[in-house]
């Protein structure tokens, strides 16, 4: 089955499936687009095999979803960069590591052990794996690290979001339409705003620089008001250091931002930056009154700074680099 339409491959890393759903969700524009491409690889829709890709001389567009967590993911990532003219890193996992990236510092053997020993694993799955192996099928081994696609190869277009927002998927579809006419986007195009989520937020306080965070509440301890900035209510919101462009989905649903769009332009470590601004604004009006001890007590209400600051970007953190450097020595 050969055609002279441009070839499109939709390739999975260790995806959760959400990214695929977000792509399909745009509906008609996608269907239109796909009539103009020859979809050669897309595990959810076609019987795509690795050798299909390996055999091809050239792919025009490859969309990669999920992080690189297995040796097969790694192989696919390198393969598409080698063969495809346009590589799209689709979703937060592919851009920053995403939720699976939270395992970046855990030994692969520990991850596998946990997976096997927790109740969420289907009983008997070991047996299934064994019988698969008898048939000659092998589950790809985990890589030592969990990496976003963008760290391993240079993507041409990046679409952050867990999963990407409809607006940005539509922008991507536009880009792929233009590609049909021979127009290529600038290299490294990020389908998100350079400015912060706060700058677009309907709850933005009048003077952000005077903002005082009055306390720290965890989500279950507070009933957030719908018209007031989360930080002003003592609920930690990553808006100040997160890129706008998601249509502030969480804020609209009365949930603070967890940072899935990644850092604003010129910030490369979300956690360290957020920590810095958080510390400035937190109880800024009560420092002398509370003293060090009082402040420390309230600060300890941040029980899991790593998970809060780096929920979506752990593999790209400087601290991760530091730890990995230490482990490699």
């Amino acid at each position: 089955m050969s055609s002279n339409k441009p070839k499109l491959a939709i390739v999975y890393g260790s995806v959760c499936g959400g990214c695929d759903v977000s792509l399909v969700n745009v509906g008609e524009p996608l269907a239109d687009l796909l009539t103009n491409y020859d979809v050669i690889y897309w595990s959810i829709a076609l019987d795509g095999k690795l050798h299909t890709l390996e055999k091809l001389e050239r792919i025009d567009v490859a969309i990669y979803m999920g992080p690189i967590r297995t040796e097969l993911n790694m192989k696919l990532a390198k393969l598409i960069r080698e063969k495809a003219d346009l590589v799209v890193a689709y979703g937060t996992c592919a851009v920053y590591g995403g939720i699976p990236g939270l395992g970046a510092l855990i030994k692969p053997s520990t991850l596998v052990e946990t997976m096997k020993s927790t109740v969420t694993t289907t009983p008997g799955s070991e047996k299934v794996v064994k019988s698969m192996e008898k048939e000659g099928l092998k589950i790809p081994p985990l890589t030592n690290q969990c990496l976003p696609l963008s760290v391993v190869v240079e993507p041409d277009v990046l679409v952050p979001g867990c999963p990407p927002a409809v607006e940005n998927v539509e922008k991507l579809i536009d880009i792929l339409k233009k590609y049909l006419r021979g127009e290529k986007p600038v290299k490294g195009l990020m389908l998100a705003e350079p400015r912060s989520l706060c700058e677009e937020c309907p709850r933005r306080p009048k003077d952000m620089s005077k903002l005082v965070i009055p306390n720290i509440y965890r989500l279950h301890e507070a009933v957030p008001k719908e018209d007031k900035c989360f930080l002003e209510q003592g609920i930690l919101c990553l808006g100040p250091i997160t890129r706008a462009g998601c249509g502030h989905r969480c804020i609209k649903a009365n949930m603070p931002c967890a940072g899935c769009m990644g850092p604003v332009q010129r910030v490369d470590d979300v956690g360290l930056k957020f920590l810095s601004s958080l510390a400035s604004a937190l109880l800024a009006d009560k420092e002398k009154e509370l003293g060090e001890e009082g402040l420390a007590k309230l600060l300890d209400k941040i029980v899991d700074p790593q998970g809060l600051f780096y929920r979506y970007t752990l593999p790209t953190s400087y601290l991760t680099k530091l730890v990995l450097k230490r482990l490699r020595k």
């Binding site: 510092l105 470590d269 956690g271 360290l272 930056k273 920590l275 810095s276 958080l278 510390a279 400035s280 937190l282 800024a284 420092e287 002398k288 003293g291 060090e292 402040l295 420390a296 600060l299 300890d300 941040i302 899991d304 700074p305 790593q306 600051f309 400087y318 601290l319 991760t320 680099k321 530091l322 730890v323 450097k325 230490r326 020595k329």
Partner: protein, 133 residues
Amino acid sequence: MYEPKIIAFLCRWCASAAADLAGVSRLSYPANIIPIVVPCSGRVDPRAIIEAFLNGADGVLIGGCHTPNDCHYISGNFKAFKRIHILKKLLKQFGIEPERIRLEWISATEATKLVQVTKDFVETIRKLGPLAR
């Protein structure tokens, strides 16, 4: 013997003035300390601390003016306190000993405190060993 490398961010008005006084008074502090003068402890970005570690430091000392009232920029020392408090917790989650960061209030007259703190910190880090190992 292993010699720890330590970066010390010292605020210009207090801790760094104490280091000057130590010099003038011919008190010596360990050569392991590489001092960097900053305007205020509140200006020390957590990023700079991690950057120091990435570039080979085994420990980072931050010296500022005493709380509650000595900071020349009103509350920079409290900002530093809050940052370091969270940063230490974060380091621990990453498996790095939080003791590698130390925050101390040292006034311009406390040259002996500066000497004591630096000596003590060098010993702490010596016990912990090099960061990259």
